[in-house]
């Protein structure tokens, strides 16, 4: 019976560990859950031509440095959740925290994330352990990503 409860709790957790709707307050939630820890916030879309290359590289980095915490936030809509999950899996990122914009006015979410992000993708934020952040638009040079990981991820 104990196992049954455990399994149930686990299934419950799994069901909820799928792609989560990113709404106002989600970034704060993501940061709170990672207080004192560095992470990479990767904004992407299934309709962005340069995102597959970016996510594949993140997938390779995660394999090389498994302690790297990556949070994927797609700017598509929750209706595309299945496709987004499938894509993340092909990039080797299925066990990472995944979110999708769930707001009829995406400008609200962009404004909350960063007033000076104009919507270009991919867009990446490197949060250090104190959550000071660096932003980058477009494909991240592999060396930059690897340098950041070796400097910040213990």
């Amino acid at each position: 019976m104990k196992y049954f409860v455990l399994t149930l709790a686990l299934l419950c957790g799994l069901a909820r560990a799928e792609i989560q709707p990113f709404v106002s307050g989600s970034l704060a939630q993501i940061q709170n859950e990672r207080a004192g820890r560095p992470f990479v916030l990767a904004l992407w879309s299934a309709t962005c031509t340069h995102c597959p290359e970016e996510l594949r590289m993140l997938g390779r980095m995660v394999k090389k440095y498994p302690a790297t915490d990556i949070v994927l936030v797609s700017t598509d809509t929750p209706a595309e959740s299945d496709e987004l999950a499938r894509l993340a899996k092909t990039y080797g990122l299925s066990d990472k925290s995944q979110w999708v914009f769930a707001e009829a006015q995406p400008e609200k979410l962009r404004f909350e994330i960063d007033r000076r992000w104009y919507g270009e993708l991919p867009r990446t934020y490197f949060f250090d352990a104190r959550h000071r952040r660096d932003a980058a638009s477009g494909l991240i040079p592999r060396e930059r990503l690897e340098r950041w990981i070796t400097e910040h991820v213990k």
Binding site: R16, P21, H50, P78, F111, R116, Y118, E120, R123
Partner: protein, 393 residues
């Protein structure tokens, strides 16, 4: 024990369903939420529209409703509209977001419609066209204008029509072999009022993949096209070209980026053939919106405008005699605002920016069109409907 497990199960289900219905901040069960969202999207109005005045001052409007394009018109500058007429009898997916929107042009009794049909394959589309020969009462069966029919990118259509030609331009990836940078600009012209189109022609290689095109008539009627081009390996600045002529670099921001800006520019050509350009760049040395004019070989220094901290973007520009009008959108955290400013000396000096409209809801990018001897802001919003506002004298 059973009680405990039921409690967990119950809490699990309960939290999921409540979250989906009332409290989207709490990470609800995804499938339920996705279904609800899909429903919302299907029911939501599609905000990206097309509008044009005809020579009699009648305002024509095209909008995507579900999988149909619908056309209506107004004889009182947007206060009342006629009952909509459906363009495509057979439903199809119509691209209608800010960068990829239907186009409408009216010449006499001819009403020309052009749009991108979205295909199920990623980034894929067809450039579609239909014409009414009876003043918008009925429309021809839509045809596909791109003569390459692979399920690849033929998207981001722009159209211009006069009494001689209908010209359509779009972004096309038919040349996209491995190693090819970006996409290409292709065009097609009809000389018989939209009954047939000539073979597609390539205007330029290596355009950026996903920014709307700007298009305007030159002094002699030749279409001029303005788009984001890839210079060198990945410098995404702007270019312009007259139809079938070589491109001219139009901005030197140096925005080196392997990304999709989803942010095209706007072009107006005044009666002296001076080009007036408005565009966005994310280049670190000068991010934001810029205006410049090109007079023959002389280019003015780019003039920045708009509030960088309010996502200033998606400009539209129009030339009316000596007057040049600019509009763009900003978001201050609560409201979407359309700001505008004017020049009465061909773009040399400008008024201070002023607010023309605002919205609490989702909204389209602003359009500037000409008609009734002046310039008009057209802006579609979810909470206040369609704004039609005179911005010129």
């Amino acid at each position: 024990m059973v009680k405990t497990s039921l409690l967990i199960l119950g809490a699990c289900l309960f939290s999921g369903s409540i979250a989906a219905h009332e409290h989207p901040g709490q990470a609800p069960a995804t499938n339920d939420f996705a279904q609800k969202w899909q429903k919302r999207l299907e029911q939501a109005p599609r905000l990206a529209i097309a509008a044009s005045f005809d020579s009699n001052g009648r305002l024509w409007l095209a909008r995507a409703v579900g999988q149909h394009l619908q056309v209506s018109h107004s004889d009182d500058a947007g206060q009342h509209f006629s009952a909509p007429v459906t363009v495509n009898a057979t439903p199809e997916l119509i691209a209608a977001d800010g960068e990829s929107r239907p186009q409408i042009a009216v010449v006499g009794e001819k009403v020309y419609l052009n749009w991108t049909q979205a295909l199920p394959q990623p980034f894929a589309g067809h450039i579609r066209f239909s014409v009414s020969n009876d003043g918008g009462q009925s429309f021809s069966a839509p045809v596909t204008v791109n003569d390459n029919l692979e399920p690849i990118t033929h998207r981001f259509n722009a159209m211009l029509a006069d009494d001689k030609n209908v010209t359509i331009a779009w972004i096309d990836k038919r040349d996209g072999k491995p190693g090819y940078r970006g996409a290409a600009i292709y065009t097609a012209q009809s000389h018989d009022g939209g009954r047939s189109f000539e073979t597609n022609r390539k205007l330029a290689d290596h355009s950026c993949e996903c920014c709307r095109l700007g298009m305007a008539s030159d002094k002699d009627g030749t279409p001029v096209i303005f788009w984001r081009q890839i210079f060198g390996r990945n410098i995404r600045d702007f270019a312009l070209a007259r139809l079938n002529e070589p491109l001219q670099r139009a901005s030197e921001d140096g925005w080196a980026i392997d990304a999709c800006p989803h942010h095209g520019g706007s072009l107006a050509v005044d009666r002296n053939a001076t080009r007036h350009l408005a565009w966005f760049t994310g280049a670190e040395k000068s991010p934001g919106l810029h205006y410049r004019r090109i007079d023959g070989k002389t280019m003015s220094k780019p003039m920045p405008f708009g509030n960088l901290d309010a996502q200033a973007g998606h400009p539209a520009i129009a030339a009316q005699g000596n007057d040049i009008h600019l509009v763009w959108r900003e978001f201050d955290g609560k409201l979407n605002r359309i700001l505008g400013m004017n020049s009465s000396d061909h773009g040399k000096t400008w008024s201070a920016p002023g607010e023309l409209a605002n919205s609490n809801g989702a909204s389209d990018d602003p359009l500037l069109i000409q008609g009734r001897g002046t310039s008009w802001l057209i802006w579609n919003t979810s909470d206040r409907g369609l704004t039609v506002k005179q911005v010129g004298q």
